[in-house]
């Protein structure tokens, strides 16, 4: 029987703080109809809160503090207050990458420079991650 592979419209990730393990998801403030990722940030203007879209490849966000284009932002966990900027440098602009732990296993990295769109997703147990994609997002389902 011919099987047709279907692609999901979006891939959303639930993320946790890599330091304390607490969920960073904010179910009360949606972006693109999905729970946002809530973080504390520090910019040249001071400290504030940013909410990132949890859809992979979506760059939408809201912030209560102004961020200048090209500025490097420090990201902190709102619970343990650890700095989430890492020593890994963005291969596009050399700014520190920011790392979040994936609820499904692995991590998502984004660039800390406003306007830089570099990002990636990493898995250790790739087979387990692929299973989740099939079961949660419907990848590979046949009709």
């Amino acid at each position: 029987m011919l099987k047709i592979k279907t692609m999901p419209q979006t891939i959303t990730f639930d993320v946790n703080c890599p330091e304390c393990g607490k969920s960073l998801m904010d179910a009360y403030n949606l972006l693109m109809d999905k729970p946002s990722i809530r973080l504390t940030i520090e910019t040249a203007k001071g400290k504030g809160t940013i909410r990132l879209c949890s859809i992979y490849d979506c760059y939408a966000h809201t912030s209560d503090i102004e961020i200048e284009g090209g500025e490097i932002v420090n990201f902190f966990c709102p619970f343990c207050h650890e700095n989430l900027n890492t020593e890994i440098k963005c291969e596009l602009c050399e700014a520190p990458m920011v790392s979040f732990k994936l609820e499904m296993g692995g991590k998502v990295n984004i660039c800390s420079r406003k306007g830089c769109k570099n990002h990636n997703v990493n898995f250790v147990d790739l087979s387990a991650a692929l299973e989740v994609f099939y079961n949660k997002f419907g990848y590979g389902s046949s009709h």
Binding site: K5, Y134, G140
Partner: protein, 135 residues
Amino acid sequence: MNELQFDVNCPHCKRSLMDPYRMIHNKPSIRVNISSGDKSGVIRLCSIYGCYDYLTDVKLKNGDLVEFTCPHCKEILNSQEKCSECEAPMVNFKLSIGGMVCICSRSGCKNHSVGFVDLSSALNSFYHQYKYGDQ
């Protein structure tokens, strides 16, 4: 689950690192040059994801730090990223399907990961190349 085997390229010159003439577990091996201390030679890694088997003409002890270089362009493949388990530099290989595979450069450390930028394209490749999702 299907067995995942990756073809990898040098992240610098992009040339293939696969060696179809030396198989490990019936798959082409990944051939790179290595040095550790005053020793240098060739290592062939198993290309099956999650398999740690390799062949090398260099005597390595557990804990040795190893520098990996491309056999074509001679660029160092050890990166600035540190292993989260032992702090040794991670070694990057470019995936032919898109993305990167990282392994730890310390002999005996099993830390490794696979990363993607374009996740949808990578997942498509898994379905079509590895037949994931087929019942």
